[in-house]
């Protein structure tokens, strides 16, 4: 058991190129402490202010065409993360010209 107040274990997060293009200096792959997907979003927002707005709307949920995969499974914001988890944030398919 971790001590009370201890930082969550690290996870690895990958971001789409179209997202990092919007935030100069942002990285496509980062390790960060996060116990769930909400904390991943908060961590990204702290590093690159404004990134939460690109990933979540004001309802507040993940945007309709933003997908978060954990170990290959698409998950919602309130998903807990295991130590060392791989979190892939990806853009979904959008039809049209």
């Amino acid at each position: 058991m971790p001590e009370t107040g201890a930082e969550p274990p690290a996870v690895t997060v990958t971001l789409p190129e179209t997202l990092t293009a919007l935030f100069p200096g942002s990285l496509p792959r980062i390790d960060m402490p996060a116990a769930n997907v909400v904390e991943v979003i908060e961590n990204l927002e702290a590093r690159w202010p404004g990134m939460r707005d690109r990933l979540c709307d004001s309802t507040p949920k993940l945007r309709r065409r933003i997908n978060v995969f954990v170990e290959g499974r698409r998950v919602p914001l309130d998903t807990d993360l295991a130590p060392g988890a791989s979190v892939h944030i990806m853009t979904g398919i959008c039809e049209g010209g």
């Binding site: 707005d53 990933l55 004001s58 309802t59 507040p60 945007r63 065409r65 933003i66």
Partner: protein
């Protein structure tokens, strides 16, 4: 003094900036900018030269983009550009306007935001959505959008806005309270006898005349109108036009009686230029009479439309006039509309055209 003319173009796939000297005979294309996001409106603050672009991406949501170097570099923000939790989220920014030291943004679903720090942080002007008419606003063909932003040039408390489909609204207290300004404009899509409601008209474009802030022109889904009392009363000025249906209206930079339109063939007939022949229509007398301007425009097999924010004038002498088509052609006139030249083709669908003239 030498001058540089910038034509700012919003498209379904990014923003573009065209640059020329004052002769306006040779244009350099710059772009696409804004990561090829759908951009509904690109407009500059003429006092600072800063360019703003409002749009929304299907994946990443709404934002206002900003360039302080005429398009060379851009940043974006949507901080505060949101309704309360649980409300339908904002899909896109539809219009931007700099005035009186502030920046305004109209959004979809219809609402109004203001920034006092050049577009970094936004505050919701909630008074508009608190208006009792809001439950009756209906989406038009482009969605439930707040498009036209008409700030009073001398009074920072006064502003007109246009909502499709909600009507024209005016505030005289900086956005705290609003009243509809639609008397005299038709709603042909309502049952007979109910065609002149207090609100709910399908406004396509509202502009104010230079030097006469209470002179407004309005291209409506159902008619073309002028008001000389700040929108309290509207008079039809569509007699002499080939169609009462169209989207953009743009005023001459100095003459309040000169206005340009692009009438289309009707709302359910394709929304093309009539008979496949392109024309800009100009009045020099406030809408009493109209003249079709066709020189240099295609006069056969032209099946395009022009969207509501896709026409503009510049402030040079003689004034330049510009419009962009749904098929991606950008036309320019350097003689107030008498002659036209295509200065770009094969762009994405053009959503907006504005100008910025800078003294070098």
């Amino acid at each position: 003094m030498a001058q540089t003319v910038h034509v700012l173009v919003g498209t379904k796939k990014g923003a573009f900036v065209f640059k020329s000297d004052a002769a306006r005979s040779s244009w350099a294309l710059h772009g696409p900018f804004c990561e090829a996001w759908p951009i509904n409106h690109v407009a500059a603050d003429p006092g600072t030269g800063i360019i703003y672009a409002g749009g929304g991406n299907e994946w990443y949501g709404p934002a206002v983009w900003k360039s302080g170097d005429f398009g060379a570099t851009w940043s974006h923000s949507s901080e505060g550009l949101a309704y309360e939790a649980g409300a339908d989220p904002i899909k896109s920014v539809w219009s931007v306007a700099a005035a009186n030291g502030c920046l305004y943004a109209g959004v979809e679903p219809a609402g109004l935001f203001r920034s006092e720090d050049g577009g970094q942080r936004w505050s919701h002007i909630a008074g508009l959505r608190d208006h009792p008419s809001r439950p009756h606003w209906q989406p038009g063909g482009g969605g439930l959008i707040l498009h036209s932003l008409v700030p009073h040039p001398d009074n920072d408390q006064r502003l007109w806005i246009g909502i499709s489909t909600g009507g024209v609204f005016h505030t005289a207290d900086g956005g705290k309270t609003w009243e509809p300004r639609n008397q005299g404009t038709r709603a042909d899509f309502l049952p007979e006898g109910e065609n002149y409601p207090e609100y709910g008209q399908c406004v396509h474009c509202v502009v104010s005349a230079p030097g006469l802030p209470d002179r407004l022109y309005q291209q409506n889904h159902c008619g073309m109108y002028r008001s000389d009392d700040g929108g309290m009363n509207w008079q039809s000025i569509e007699a002499g036009l080939p169609s009462a249906f169209g989207f953009p209206a743009t005023v001459h930079p100095r003459d309040p009686d000169t206005l340009y339109l692009v009438p289309l063939n009707g709302d359910i007939l394709g929304r093309y230029v009539p008979d496949g022949k392109a024309a800009v229509w100009r009045t020099r007398d406030g809408g009493k009479t109209w003249t079709d301007l066709r020189a240099g425009l295609p006069q056969e097999s032209a099946f395009f439309g022009v969207l509501r924010q896709a026409m503009a004038t510049d402030r040079l002498e003689p004034a330049g006039v510009y419009f962009g088509t749904g098929t991606g052609t950008l036309y320019a006139s350097t003689d107030e509309g008498d002659h036209w030249t295509a200065i770009a083709e094969h762009l994405p669908t053009i959503t907006s055209v504005e100008t910025l003239v800078m003294d070098d």
